[in-house]
Amino acid sequence: MTKINTVKDLKALRKRLLKERKKIRATLVLCGGTGCQASRCQDVTDAVKNELAKQGLKRSVCVRTTGCHGFCEQGPLMVIEPGNIFYCHILPDDAHEIVTKTILDGEVVERLLYTDPVSGKLIQTESEIPFYRAQDRYLLAQNRQVDPCSIEDYIAIGGYSAFTKALFEIPPESVVREIKDSGLRGRGGGGFPTGRKWAECQKAPGDEKYVICNADEGDPGAYMDRCLLEGNPHLVLEGMMIGAWAIGAQQGYVYVRNEYPLAVKHARMAVDQARKIGLLSDKILGSSFSFDIDIARGGGSFVCGESTALMASLEGKVGEPRPKDVHTVVDGLWHKPTTLNNVETWANVPSIILNGSSWFASKGSKGSKGTKILALTGHIKNTGLVEVAMDTTINTVVFDIGGGGSNGNSIKAVQTGGPSGGCLPADKFDLPVDFDVLAKAGSMVGSGGMVVMDQETCMVDVAKYFLTFLQDESCGKCVPCRMGIDRMLEIITDITEGNGTSWQIGLLEELGSTVSQTALCGLGKTAANPVLSTLRYFRDEYEAHIHAKKCPAGVCQALVTYKVDAEKCTCCGICKRGCPHGAIVGKKKQVHAINLDLCQKCGICKSECDFEAIQVK
């Protein structure tokens, strides 16, 4: 890699790259995100590359392995440019046909096209697929354009021009003003105005300052930060470089979850490349600004996503939060002024600098500008990562993009905002994914997780699930969080085991509000949300558990029994083989039965039976 020394060098490099790329006749864009890797996309990539080599097309056809495209359910997937042809569920054996038919003869391989589940029609191009069509993909769309391991790909599409523009044309105060005017709010959960944070940090006294990228992504069920850092690491770095220029930081850190090995690898590679090319160095491109970034791996603790705990962890200590009487923008990492932002927040910065604050502010609602990436998961047809303007309704996300419930089931609720968020019932789906609106409804946008639930989900069990999670993750430093979560979990456990009484509902509400008001950090302050929101919208389910001793969804183990429906049982023996507890009896050609003394109610037999012959009551 040749070093660039001036902005002119960068522009010349971009021009050269674009010229070289003109010679390419087609590009096969293969998704190499974690989802597609789980679907064995590497084998497909190898097969395609082999086939191209065999047919002598290695030079004229480019294979680009990129980060996540979002439509994980359809992987391994590929987009062929020009033409925007979209192939899904590709197998290595399809490589020959793709190259011969589509690349050489310009024909489409119908069998690999996506079938619209609603109309049953085959869809040829990516942009026509309803999942993509109803989105407003700005950040995610860039993932398709770059190989995350190539700084050249990023530079070719205009990468680092926002940073150089800021560095040489916009003084720090004006950068901050631009971010303020854009209305950008933090994407990590709190929705704090980014420009205000930067302004305070810029004003804070001291020459030594830090910027940090929070890539801890502790919210289970959300993976957009992973997707951005894994798929377009230079975009995140560029955002941090602009932020560092604005507040006057010399050093940055990316704090990334160690459970994301690919994100760690790509972030490290990107930093290395940026250093080698001269974009992270002393006196960058001949300016007076020096900046460097290091990558630190998290230790798998949810509370470390909280700003002060994260800083403690970066200092090599136990990740316990501390009171924020003095804000971290003044007294942060190593007691120096520090600006901490989420991955997606940083990723939004370069385009605001390039296109201007009014461009950004033109999308979204009055109080929530721009787009937000959501992780659409759970009982829904089209799962994956979705990017929408922040005035889009949940209905649009769940039905137009998500295609509605899986297995034709009707959707009961969505859980948004992870362990700090809440559950919203279907009659609230006309609400937009707006920070303030969702908070008012008792949930939150949070980091953007959106878990869809149908009638097979018990809402009391969901509340119990989150309390168990939070009990495990609470650092234990403050009493309201440590004891409050314990007690709430005790009560909910009583209810799910059929030992609940009606006065416990009031007690839960009282405990919940006390914990919210008195806990030290955000973990405790929001810990009651899953309980309070399910109590607010699904009180009937709590009452069924308490009064009728029934779990309507058939989930809570203590309140259900398993039985074989003799009429439906085909005596196939699958349940008997599957049961790890040896609780199923029955010989060949004999209707099976469950030995209730041995049955642990684990549900494996029900999930294995193809004939719905296991009844849960």
């Binding site: 459970e259 090995p261 949810f302 090599g316 998961t377 684990c602 549900g603 294995e608």
Partner: protein, 160 residues
């Protein structure tokens, strides 16, 4: 490739207390757990009291203080996987291998772990075996996976 020695992991990090977590990460990655001896060496070399090293090593989930089985099956119990039946998968693993999460099976072959999210939430339930992802898991698929690991292991032994 043999794992890097503790000495080489500590290189360029000596006397830098803030490198504690990074050092522990590397030890965990290459040795599968953090032994008491390693903690003592790390304490000396970084200049961090042993108690502090232990406190950090036991606070973070990423670190195991006891050896783990030869194969680590990690089951995601994050929200997205939970609503799609992650509990069944965990029950299957526990029932089939007869070990509790984080313990080592009697033959030393398996440890089951559960984590909050593996970051492939759209494809849940998700399981990894030694870092390899498996999506849309069902108890049946897990049963087959565990059987295939037993088989590979038996083959390895007969080759030795």
């Amino acid at each position: 490739m043999p794992p890097p020695t503790l000495d080489s992991i500590l290189e360029e990090r000596r006397s830098q207390p803030h490198q504690l977590i990074e050092v522990l990460q590397d030890v965990q990655e290459h040795y599968g757990y953090i032994a008491e001896e390693s903690m003592r060496t790390i304490s000396n070399e970084l200049g961090v009291p042993l108690m502090e090293v232990y406190k950090v090593a036991s606070f973070y989930k990423a670190f195991a203080l006891k050896p783990r089985g030869k194969n680590v099956i990690t089951i995601c119990t994050g929200t997205a996987c939970h609503v799609r039946g992650a509990k069944l998968i965990l029950n299957q693993a526990v029932g089939q291998l007869g070990v509790k999460p984080s313990e080592v099976s009697d033959d030393g072959l398996f440890t089951i772990e559960h984590v909050n999210c593996l970051g492939a939430c759209a494809l849940g339930p998700v399981v990894t075996d030694n870092g390899n992802y498996h999506n849309h898991m069902s108890p049946g698929k897990l049963r087959k996976l565990i059987k295939s690991i037993y088989k590979t292991d038996a083959e390895e032994i007969s080759h030795d």
